[in-house]
Symmetry: D2
Subunit: 360 residues, 4 copies
Amino acid sequence: MSWNSFGRVFRFTTWGESHGPALGAVVDGCPPGLDLAEGDIQPWLDARKPGQNKFTTQRKEPDQVRILSGVFEGLTTGTPISLMIENTDQRSKDYSEISQAYRPGHADYAYDAKYGLRDYRGGGRSSARETAARVAAGAVARLVIPEVRILAYVAEIGGDAIDPECFDVDEIGKNPFWCPDPAAAMRWEALVDDARKAGSSLGAVVECVASGVPAGWGAPIYAKLDADLAAGMMGINAVKGVEIGDGFGAARLSGEQNADPMRPSVGGEPGNGPRFEANHAGGIAGGISTGQPVVCRVAFKPTSSILTPVPSITRDGEATEVRTKGRHDPCVGIRGTPVVEAMMALVLADHKLLHRAQCG
Amino acid sequence: MSWNSFGRVFRFTTWGESHGPALGAVVDGCPPGLDLAEGDIQPWLDARKPGQNKFTTQRKEPDQVRILSGVFEGLTTGTPISLMIENTDQRSKDYSEISQAYRPGHADYAYDAKYGLRDYRGGGRSSARETAARVAAGAVARLVIPEVRILAYVAEIGGDAIDPECFDVDEIGKNPFWCPDPAAAMRWEALVDDARKAGSSLGAVVECVASGVPAGWGAPIYAKLDADLAAGMMGINAVKGVEIGDGFGAARLSGEQNADPMRPSVGGEPGNGPRFEANHAGGIAGGISTGQPVVCRVAFKPTSSILTPVPSITRDGEATEVRTKGRHDPCVGIRGTPVVEAMMALVLADHKLLHRAQCG
Amino acid sequence: MSWNSFGRVFRFTTWGESHGPALGAVVDGCPPGLDLAEGDIQPWLDARKPGQNKFTTQRKEPDQVRILSGVFEGLTTGTPISLMIENTDQRSKDYSEISQAYRPGHADYAYDAKYGLRDYRGGGRSSARETAARVAAGAVARLVIPEVRILAYVAEIGGDAIDPECFDVDEIGKNPFWCPDPAAAMRWEALVDDARKAGSSLGAVVECVASGVPAGWGAPIYAKLDADLAAGMMGINAVKGVEIGDGFGAARLSGEQNADPMRPSVGGEPGNGPRFEANHAGGIAGGISTGQPVVCRVAFKPTSSILTPVPSITRDGEATEVRTKGRHDPCVGIRGTPVVEAMMALVLADHKLLHRAQCG
Amino acid sequence: MSWNSFGRVFRFTTWGESHGPALGAVVDGCPPGLDLAEGDIQPWLDARKPGQNKFTTQRKEPDQVRILSGVFEGLTTGTPISLMIENTDQRSKDYSEISQAYRPGHADYAYDAKYGLRDYRGGGRSSARETAARVAAGAVARLVIPEVRILAYVAEIGGDAIDPECFDVDEIGKNPFWCPDPAAAMRWEALVDDARKAGSSLGAVVECVASGVPAGWGAPIYAKLDADLAAGMMGINAVKGVEIGDGFGAARLSGEQNADPMRPSVGGEPGNGPRFEANHAGGIAGGISTGQPVVCRVAFKPTSSILTPVPSITRDGEATEVRTKGRHDPCVGIRGTPVVEAMMALVLADHKLLHRAQCG
């Protein structure tokens, strides 16, 4: 019910603004007895961390996480896990311009319309810095679902897609784009660099695959696994679309093409669950996992912060133009990739526990 | 938190199966003093009702709604509104085949894997008959947001899209496809009829536009208006993708192309809110409405129930083939259109009240 | 979060008014595979049913329950269980008086102040008829916790308490007061009858003991088992106080007196959990069950509906007097006893599942 | 739904343990535009602060609160308000004894039974230090309900009650017991000091009155104002009983005695709401406020930590004896008084917003 909490049983709440002293997450409902130290969380934050290369924002944030509660002698205790990340690189710039004008594509106007005021420093609560808190919470969620492997990667930047034939999982960590196709990674280097130099920005599509999810997670009707994934992904900054399995592509298939035929499991033992011959469904049927990999695709719009002036208005309703200077990601989808993974982990951990609640 | 409830403040719970005695919705949190009678709900159910032409299932259900509580002397009282629809055309067929084998693309296997048993009659709880309850609840939601006009229509069937140039709102109700483009409606007639005769099925894309939504509905971070819309739409049977505004198309734009420039409002009075020169964002920024029309697109997969045999397995894990006989929609997206409208209304009504709670 | 729902994982929603066509409950989150038929629910409704003797209201309601969903071939399916009870004895009396004046002690004025209107027929939603829906839901909850035995009884009427020395569990069902002390039952017969004849009413205290609750149900901090019990019991019509274990009596004890010493369990096997030598705590410490019986006491005020005229005002604010005619319980605590049992079952079932979610 | 969150619309989540680095609260759903600085919160924490006199624990904690988010330029922004209090006086004592044996009356055994492990340092999460976080959150809640005045005081210690005839509101802050009766305060000084010296402890009853609550807050059926108050109060450490209005006393009254007669309001203007001639109901009818003062009474058990040895068992199930050394409150109800006030504020703030959501 809360505005800033997500999840049903495994549930987290985030807080903090772009330029406040810190931000954080409180993870509630975590099972007890799991090994957890700051070192289990930090690598995931490092993956999302800004300033690591010229294709991301140059804001330098160590994003060092501290565990303030919920862990005792290296084990989770079942009580809330408070995670805090201090902001260290809030540059002392002059915000007078942004405080009086609305940046097009940003939440500035919507926040003012809703609340009557806004923390304009770096976007305040609407900044994607909040996603650091999700990534930290997601690291805890991963411990709850050791049976699941989650892999996200960028499948498309600026309309230039990877070639599925060239998919190489080992390539993903070798380039600054989480790109599994080395040729695409080379092309994107030029593409993103050009956009960056031009003060422009690009959109991206991120795919995420979770393997090892057993059949049976998720639940009708308003706790469907795909509905919760859709909410979780759409809630990430700059996301404008979510697909499960074939997504919009499925709308162009016939029933025969879209069917996922089932065959007896390889071992052939009765009762073992099927071997599926396709996965158009993306591992979810009727809102419940089928045992196939859970697959979703997430569309990120181009970063709204661009150097090109865009017509806008001031808080007083006067015409103006806004150029968004400052340190921005030319393609926010890139750093969105670890966030997509985190949300996948958070949704799955919640549904594992929810399933256990009802079905034992 | 519940499995079968949706919404935060304006909240509804649905119940019922395809072949049980009845199904229904309990609407909780409705403001008092609204005019409500069964006649306010029935037209929306009639729009979704099966058996109205050869392009939808031939199951005949009057879908007559009864209000059992929450209304007194024609006005809502603020207490729960219980809505019930009796099932009348549960054909007494032999379910022995479907009870022992899993229909590919359906939730049969997932339900069995989760619960260890399932009501196989017509899909039980996983049947799209549940959407009748949402449509009824949605009719109540509409009363809460009289300032909003909601319009959904089919934009694509089987990959054949409408021509935006030919969009005519008055056409939507004149053909059996909720199609705003008369030429497309003609083409679809052949397309769907062919699929129906071939025992096949087709997917569809439904678009939904809500005008009149004021700026300020929705809220960071996990109660974003777009995230709730995504959850609501993805939870509709057969839906595999959701887009807000330009959706996946935005991922192919540059920041300049995707910007929605703002100009002073027509009257020009200061403080009036902007006039936007584009709506790539679909009326939502930072999870909060901007005052522009809220636009979403929803992808429906082709109906999984097809006459063509598909390889499958039995409950015992043996190989088999399944042909889904019975009365089915050749394109479930068509009848999904009123459901999409209802979910839009339900999400917006909830967010109107939620906004009022916090911001007065 | 909803107004008319209770529970976290095992969750139910009730609807309906005193003089509407029906009332009911939707039970969500029930584990699958439990044997459930209407015959499992009816006895509990019969225990609460009005009109069974001269000590309760003379309204005749069969309170026949129907299961409309969630059960297939005699087993729960894991989907929502819709329970409906038709109202059959809404006497067609003239409500003009009550519609214009506020009955003191009733919710009439508060409802009008909140909603601006109210269903005044028999108290509408504020009537204790709603508790029939809880009792029905509670019958389902009992199936979830077969390890638990719940026993409620009246411990005091009009200030006249049972003698704990004379407690005989077998007496409880043998008198119309759920009284475990036969001598007290005899005294109460005169007491309640006198009140009834005088057009007056009496308060009561109900005690409820749940045995067999294992250690570990409940959770810090805002899902404490005792906090949820307090909410559940205080929400029953006419309840004004709730105690766990010694309750207010504990406030008069010293730490030594209030201690519940622990001894090794009878078998003496290490790790077996303690044998407690007292149960001042009422089976709950830190919000979590200890394995001892869970004990709570619930205070019911005297029925507000009395024949003696009480000064009041009309809807227009004019002075008037109200005598509440009609068919009323002279001591509403008596029929509250099965409701207390039901709430205990509902809270415990929820916490069993919640515990399983987090701790496996 | 969460374990460590409370409230529906105005909602807070607490985290932290007795001997961890810090504890805190995240307040979500707070209206924007309220003046808030740390100085608005600190006085309430100071009122609850330990170590202020010999009648409370000698642990020295400054309980200095920091606001980490949700406030900008001195105003709440509508986004989550993160409040943190560092622990500074976690004495580095040897916990080996308490780590292996269960303190009777404490949550030690229950936590171990639930989670399989526990943070035994000072009781970990089960310590009443958590209530500092509630008091901080409560200070924010007070800003949401400026129309309400909340007053809590100790009405009884160790069975020795105040004399209502001697009630003097100005006395409450003048003695270390929040006692409104100067004669009782004198008696309690000896009483509590004796208990302290004897290594014993005493229970207490705290009363809380909220004036200025308008009619109409609260809601049927499972969001009743009294039910939420009962949950909130029962969830405070050491609380074993909650009464609204006359509470258990009402169970000993006749309907005539318990009636709260209504008269036209003083000014006599029609429609003004009644003037009540009594307040047995404690300001709540049918779960909704009536405009009278909201009154509740809360029973605190004697502190379980006493120097007298009590039989207990070790984690291995062996017999042992436990004396709880360390720094403890001889009467935990005293410092519970500001916590009761805070919970009253938190419940009322939530219901004000919830009412506004539904009824505008």
